[in-house]
Structures are given as structure tokens and as C-alpha cells.
């Protein structure tokens, strides 16, 4: 699974720390998600999409191996 959190965060000009505070997790967790070391729960995914003002499909997508 791939994600575009880093890109969407850059568009919104939000730092990892700010995004972490807005969704209620640690900065390290946002870093782990961005680096594909952790796949967030549906709840966190929905929170991220709300804060970054985009759909979940825009944030997360299946890569070639998973599809």
C-alpha cells in the first residue's frame, strides 16, 4: 500500500508535528505512516483525510503487488 500523506501535507503546508497534534498521535507515528512502516487504522485514515481535506482514496492506494 502506498500513501500520499507527505505530498498532501506539503500542499497544506503542515508539519509532521502539527498534523500529529491535529489527529491525536505522536509525530513519530506520522513519520512511520509516511515511510510505509505502519498502516494506520480506518479511524486514523479518516481523520487524516479530513484534516488534509482530501478523500481516503487520494491519500492511500494499493500498489502493484497488493492490487
Amino acid at each position: 500500500m502506498k500513501n500520499n500523506i507527505k505530498v498532501n501535507r506539503a500542499i497544506k503546508k503542515i508539519s509532521q508535528d502539527e498534523l500529529a497534534k491535529l489527529v491525536g498521535v505522536s509525530r513519530q507515528t506520522i513519520n512511520a505512516i509516511e515511510n510505509n512502516k505502519y498502516y494506520p487504522s480506518l479511524e486514523l485514515g479518516l481523520k487524516l483525510s479530513k484534516i488534509l481535506a482530501c478523500s481516503v482514496n487520494d491519500l492511500f492506494s494499493l500498489d502493484d503487488e497488493s492490487a
Binding site: 491525536g24 498521535v25 513519530q28 507515528t29 513519520n31 512511520a32 505502519y38 494506520p40 487504522s41 486514523l44
Partner: protein, 154 residues
């Protein structure tokens, strides 16, 4: 999301008790200290007073040194509280790391127990069983602590 963890205020006191009890347990197992060093002898009811050629506890009431019982209670209770108390920065990734630590401690301990059960026999195996009673909890906590330290450094 309810993750059924205890409050963060339990983390440090339970940790102090757990690591202290683990240290005393290791010292006791390696005979650095013995049950004679700290003797807390109490009369206790012996519910299963079957023929016991090894320990000779055939009476309903026996005199027993409570040091190992106290250590066992301390290790189990403080270990469970320490392992399942919320971190100061608890979130779903910390919960994921906790689950990973629990998974790997189970895999490692039961793999070792399987191997050891084929290689160690007799009274020495009793020692192995004694260690394996607590090693799942100890491995889980140590693994999780290391994971959290690494996670916070990133």
C-alpha cells in the same frame, strides 16, 4: 478507540517493582542469594498433600519460605500492570508495537521451549519450566521497551 490499557500513572511504580523482582529472581536462580538469606517462613495450608517424594510435603499444613511466592506474585502482577499501562505518548502505533512485542515473545519462548524439551531432561528441565513461567512476560516487556525507545528516537 478503547484499547483496555491501564492509566499511565501505573507505568513507573509497576516498572520499579517488576525490574526489582526480576533482578532478585535472577539472583535467586543463580544462587547469588538463597532462600536462607531472606527467610520469610510461614505456616501455609497445603491443599494437594499427595505423596510427594521430592519435597516430602505430605501434611495439610506446612512451613514454607514465602520469598519465592512473593517474588512470583510481584513478577506476575507488576509485569502485567507494567506491560499494559498506557505510555505517556500512547497512540495506535504504540499499541501496534505492544502487539508485535507480545507476538514475538510468544514465538521466541515457545520455540525455545520446544527445542529445550528435546535436549534437557530430569531435574534441569524443572529449572527450564520455572524460567519459562516468567520469560514470556520478561521478553514481552523488554522487547516493547526497546521498540518504544527506538520509535521515540526517530
Amino acid at each position: 478507540m478503547n484499547n483496555h490499557l491501564l492509566s499511565n500513572r501505573w507505568l513507573i511504580p509497576s516498572g520499579i517493582l517488576f525490574y526489582s523482582a526480576t533482578l532478585v529472581g535472577i539472583l535467586l536462580m543463580t544462587s547469588v542469594i538463597t532462600t536462607e538469606t531472606i527467610n520469610i517462613e510461614v505456616s501455609v495450608p497445603n491443599l494437594f498433600h499427595l505423596e510427594d517424594p521430592l519435597l516430602g510435603h505430605n501434611q495439610s499444613w506446612i512451613k514454607n519460605n514465602w520469598l519465592d511466592e512473593i517474588l512470583c506474585l510481584l513478577l506476575c502482577i507488576s509485569g502485567l500492570i507494567h506491560g499494559f499501562s498506557a505510555e505517556s505518548d500512547e497512540d495506535e502505533y504504540a499499541n501496534f508495537l505492544r502487539f508485535q512485542a507480545l507476538k514475538w515473545s510468544m514465538v521466541i519462548n515457545y520455540t525455545l521451549l520446544t527445542v529445550v524439551s528435546l535436549l534437557i531432561y530430569g531435574f534441569a528441565f524443572w529449572q527450564v519450566i520455572l524460567i519459562s513461567m516468567f520469560s514470556v512476560l520478561v521478553t514481552f516487556i523488554v522487547w516493547f521497551r526497546i521498540s518504544m525507545i527506538q520509535h521515540r528516537r526517530k
